[in-house]
Amino acid sequence: MKTFATLYRRIDAATSTQHKRQALIDYLRLAVGDPEQYASAAWTVYFLAGGKPRQMISTKLLRQLALEATDLPEWLIDECYHSVGDLAETLALLLPPATRVEDAPLDLWMNERLLPLRERDDAERLAALRDWLDAMPSDDRLPFFKLVTGELRIGVSKLQMTHAIAQATELDAKLVAQRMMGYTQANRAPQAQDFVALVAPAEAGEDGRPLRGQPYPFFLAHPLQAPLSAFPELLGPVDDWLVEWKFDGIRAQFIHRAGEWWLWSRGEELVSDSFPELAALVEFLPDDIVLDGELIVVAPRSDARSAVDDLSDLRPFSELQQRLGRKVLTPKMLRDRPVALIAYDLLEKDGRDLRERPQRERRALLEEVVSRAHSTAMQVGADLPLRLSPALTQPDWESFARQREEARARGAEGMMLKAMGAPYGVGRQKSGANLWWKWKLDPMSVDAVLIYAARGHGRRSGVYSDYTFGVWSGPPEQTDRTLLTFAKAYSGLSDEEMRKVDATIRRTTIENFGPVRSVRPTMVFELGFEGIGASNRHKSGIAVRFPRMLRWRQDKPVEDADTIEALRALLPGGGA
């Protein structure tokens, strides 16, 4: 734990990405040169690249640990937690100092202590924790509890980790990215050999090709924010671009190799088990093939549909959400919320990596493969959960812009623009002509009133940074109208604005409920969001997707904020 804790502190203290990267590189160089450290380094990479094992110790148990070990009343521990804004840190600050010191490497901690805790009962877990903590120096406790609570939040991304490994080992970053695929899956316990496999010199012929069920790194898109008038100069003629809808589902890679299949989400989690209906694809698709596409819920039906690019039956993201994170998929769920994969790229065919081939060529092969699978399925009357993302055509960018306005009605968020001549890249490429662009619709927005505020976490602990917003239940002439909540948001303000909002919240507090305060309505914000739907989560009966503050409307009195009618009008079909 000491080695990991030292690295954690060094990264945490770093105030620039360069210092952060240097800390990673220094650590990795030492680890690569010391076989004794391989097993613990395997876990260190796992955690720093964002890996989160399934819960080992519940929050409830950790709170109980605090109660028993500190002899403080529960309300006071809560008070401390609200002041600190982070459970791991609260525990680290509250627990009494160690009475002895012993150290064990991270792999031993994980494999022999923490993971086996899942098989124990709460009393045993508590006793084990107290015993271990009694031998743990105060400095190591924050990283320890961060691991245990699964919230490292140290500002290292998988991409940074990939680059640090590449730099420390002098390997090609693309090769490392390929080796990292799937490394941080939740139910994985990385071993010494996994670390070796990450940092080993490139083998002859190893060109970053994935093994068996391993996916390719996803190619990620950049937001396109230029005005339409700049498009011809920025992008050139429309014929050079593949234009598609930007679907509002889950990005996924479907792999069919050697008779088996795997489905990977964009978060590099293996999600095959959550979408068993895709097993049907194996029958109709050729072997040794990899598709990139979007998973989305479609209307249930039993007969085959006629067109492979029929998208008339896409359901909103909220329905897909109901399928995610379920431990058990009921037959009813599978029947009522079936998914389909809308394919938009072909990364491998006949076992050959196609990523260096131009988009134009990959698209032609994709159309061929998906159409053939579709027609074979048609012949046997099967409704194959596979669609082809239609290639949209228009004579010019203005026409595309007009067509883009239909996106929401079609269940899409906007359009994707992909250069016809470009290869399939790795991750979010910085610049160059070969980018993928996401050309999203402007967010929907309303002017809403801040009515609740909670203290934030991490960098914002202690600051009122998380807000709940409401709109009026009726027009101004209705004297008994109230504010109905519909969204929570915490991003979009500058630090300076947040300081002012924080001060106003403290001044206008009506009531404290633990970490949350209700405030007198005085502040209006223009709140932007990407999607809207009916929901019983909020009083308004409406919930929105990706809400964020676009602007603080200091010019606007609260009486002039929007009403629930304005929000309802944005619902698909205009509300009512």
Binding site: L72, L76, V84, L93, L94, S461, G462, V463
Partner: protein
């Protein structure tokens, strides 16, 4: 039941039988001052009464005002009460105010800490019936490490920077924290620079016979000197042009607030050292117990939490509203003024 000897009034804490205020935040006829931080020693009162070592600080802060002074333990009868000042260990000249009236004793602590800092007279518990305590760090998450350990960390941070050829810029409140740091910095590591807002306060200390290492103005150093120096500056100075003189440097802040990661991260500093001139949680409890008081009034900081905890322990303890420090104390990390020397 007798009447309270100290009550909250519009101008600040007020002693009716003595007809004076303690650390009033609005002008009063007679202001008894516990210490020289700007949230306790405010402008506009008719006359001031404070410890003799606090007087030069008050003069520097408030200009030509009427000041009377007392030594620690010296008694003064004011109105119907007998008043004396006792060491609070917070900063130079800081005092607890003891008030005796018809056999009843009240003590207003001002700000205090228990650990001897080598600069101010160490805190002395004063037996009393009612104790008015501060609670800036009145939550059990606040526990200070011994000063010697924190100073060793600070000196090694400085030494490491000096070896790497970059300046060490330390933010610290100008009164109290700065001199406490100076007292324990290892001057063998390199030259020490003090910002212009701190140096006059150093001089006040030196004039009173407190030995501090030599301090320089930033302009007195050449490039080589700057690359090894440690510079002390009040928090507001780091946004000024002054900081640019140091080029590539490592920055740090010495304050009790640095105990929390969020406060360190939010400031974007390389280092945060949890060194405070206020009592930590165990210190508050120890000081309260040592007074023998049964009734406790808790001012600025975590007044609600500390008083509730004390009530559950059998004390007659209640929060008392004041305008010292900041609301709840938690807001403090955003405040840049040189106020309460946290």
């Amino acid at each position: 039941m007798t009447k309270d000897l100290i009550v909250p009034a519009a101008e600040g804490l007020y002693c009716p039988p003595g007809k004076f205020h303690i650390d009033p935040w609005r002008p009063a006829a007679l202001a008894v001052i516990t210490h020289g931080h700007s949230d306790h020693a405010r402008w506009g009162s008719g006359a001031y009464l404070c410890h003799e070592d606090c007087a030069p600080i008050l003069r520097r802060r408030l200009g030509d005002v009427r000041i009377e002074t007392l030594r620690y333990g010296e008694r003064r009868d004011i109105g119907e009460v007998r008043l004396s000042l006792h060491p609070a260990g917070h900063v130079l000249g800081s005092a607890q105010v003891r008030i005796e009236h018809r056999g009843e004793v009240w003590v207003a602590s001002g700000d205090y800490k228990l650990e001897a800092d080598g600069v101010s007279a160490p805190f002395e518990p004063v037996p009393c019936d009612v104790f008015i305590t501060e609670s800036t760090f009145g939550l059990p998450i606040y526990r200070w490490r011994p000063q010697a350990e924190v100073m060793a960390d600070i000196n090694s941070w400085w030494a490491e920077n000096a070896r790497a050829g970059r300046a060490s810029v330390m933010q610290a409140y100008g009164l109290g924290k700065a001199q406490r740091l100076l007292k324990h910095l290892d001057a063998n590591i390199g030259p020490i620079v003090c910002h212009g807002a701190i140096e006059p306060l150093n001089q006040i200390h030196r004039d009173l016979g407190i030995a501090l290492p030599p301090t320089l103005n930033v302009g007195a150093l050449d490039k080589a000197g700057l690359s090894r120096c440690l510079a002390l500056a009040p928090p507001h100075a780091v946004q000024s042009g002054w900081i640019r003189r140091f080029g590539d440097h490592s920055d740090a802040f010495a304050s009790g607030w640095m105990r929390l990661r969020g406060n360190r991260r939010r400031r974007g500093l390389d280092q945060g050292f949890a060194l405070s001139d206020h009592a930590d949680w165990p210190g508050l409890l120890q000081a309260i117990a040592a007074t023998g008081a049964e009734r406790i009034l808790v001012t600025h900081g975590s007044g609600e939490a500390l008083s509730r905890y004390l009530r559950e322990k059998g004390y007659d303890a209640w929060p008392m509203a004041t305008e010292y420090g900041d609301e709840e104390g938690e807001a403090e990390p955003n405040v840049e003024a040189d106020t309460d020397g946290a």
